[in-house]
């Protein structure tokens, strides 16, 4: 039998099923690497979402900037991050959000040697 998707608590492992599930959402976020698309998105976010065939849940997660839900719905952090950058959010801001900390607390944890597990 082949291996199976690693299961590590507290960790998203982006596999083919997730990729399939998050395909439209990741395509939308990835498109934001182009300046012209960023402008079109900012001008009318809802219309931009409609053009990418998101599921209703994905659409809501993007419009509400529910970052954790984006990942739960198949988002890949490297795609989703392009939307965060548009919002002038850093990876540290997202780290705080994912872990229920303020950005300052999250940065402090990193500066103190990072968070350790197990």
């Amino acid at each position: 039998m082949p291996s199976s998707t690693p299961e590590v608590p507290g960790t998203y492992v982006f596999d083919v099923a997730q990729s399939n599930r998050g395909y439209a959402l990741n395509r939308l976020c990835g498109s934001l690497k182009d300046a012209a698309n960023r402008e079109r998105f900012s001008a009318d976010e809802a219309a931009y979402c409609d053009a990418y065939g998101l599921s209703p849940e994905q659409r809501e997660a993007i419009l509400q900037r529910d970052w954790t839900r984006m990942l739960d719905l198949g988002g890949s952090i490297f795609y989703v991050f392009k939307l965060a950058v548009l919002d002038k959010k850093s990876m540290q801001d997202l780290g705080g959000i994912f872990t229920g900390m303020t950005t300052e607390e999250f940065v402090k944890a990193l500066n103190a040697g990072g968070r350790s597990f197990g």
Partner: protein
């Protein structure tokens, strides 16, 4: 014949590039990391390759999810620097080495590596930050041509660590059989431990990283025996990038000398490290008994 003169393992964190691009390398946050690079940079400046083979991964820039190569190689004359969504880095475009690329490609495919061929490729921080780690002030042009080799580390199933080491071994054979007098360096990039998303975001595992830094020199086959789950559990969901160091290590011969290393936490959300290995003459054999899986 071409000669493989050194191998560099280095993190490719975007903020390391940004710190250099924005003149922040003397800031208290960044100074320790860049001070740690200095001895390696001095040594490399005296041992300059004609071509750098840079093993890295793309981060949603040149590769989209419609088509995800497992292993890919660039064969172009030149590579544009990607705009990753916050403007392109203000660094020179990357010159290719298409003859060496084709030689390596054919060698690898003949040996049963199923390489995707990129005739056009925009390169992101995964490739340009390691170039900056090697050469902080390139001026108008990088001091070497580049052969990009891409590895899928983002989407499961990634190649196994053992397959990465085997790819490196075949890459070493390919380099050594190139019939021109070229000096070549190999970069293995990414890592060390980090995880960007999920409840474990902010993970750093210094114990694992220190073990990896030591073992990449002494017993790469042991690292090749670790599973994807081992890497993700110990080094984080993005720490699995470390399998790309094994490609570099495989290309070097069994006789290598550690020139320098440095380890620093944090570079934004990541444990950052550099390890530089001189490839010793006569080291044309294989570094391990790893199977090609």
């Amino acid at each position: 014949m071409a000669e493989l003169i050194w191998g560099l393992a280095t993190s490719h964190v975007p903020s390391i590039g940004a710190a250099m691009d924005n003149g922040k390398t003397e800031d208290p946050y960044w100074k320790p990391l860049f001070d740690g690079y200095a001895p390696a940079r001095e040594w490399m400046a005296k041992h300059t390759p004609d071509v750098a083979i840079i093993v890295y991964n793309d981060h949603a820039n040149a590769i989209e999810l419609n088509m995800t190569p497992m292993f890919a190689i660039g064969t172009a004359d030149a590579y544009k620097v990607a705009d990753e969504g916050w403007g392109s880095r203000n660094v020179p475009p990357v010159a290719g080495a298409p003859e060496l690329s084709e030689h390596i490609l054919v060698s690898l495919v003949d040996e049963g590596f199923d390489m995707t061929v990129c005739q056009e490729l925009e390169v992101d921080h995964g490739l340009t930050v390691p170039l900056s780690v090697y050469c902080p002030d390139p001026g108008d042009a990088w001091p070497c041509a580049v052969v990009p080799i891409l590895v899928n580390v983002i989407q499961y199933p990634q190649p196994t660590a053992a397959r990465c080491l085997a790819l490196g071994e075949a890459l070493g054979r390919a380099i050594r059989s190139f019939p021109k007098d070229l000096k070549v360096a190999v970069f293995g990039t990414g890592g060390m431990s980090h995880q960007l998303a999920g409840a474990r975001a902010g993970l750093i595992n210094e114990k694992f990283d220190r073990m990896f830094l030591e073992t990449i020199e002494t017993d790469p086959a042991a690292l090749a025996a670790l599973s994807r789950e081992d890497y993700i559990r110990e080094a984080g969901s993005e720490g699995i990038e470390l399998i790309m160091w094994l490609v570099m290590r495989g290309a070097l011969g069994p006789g290598i000398r550690r020139v320098h290393e440095t380890y620093h936490v944090p570079a934004s959300n990541t444990a950052a490290a550099l390890a530089l290995f001189e490839n010793l003459p006569g080291g044309a054999g294989q570094p391990s008994g790893a199977s090609p899986r």
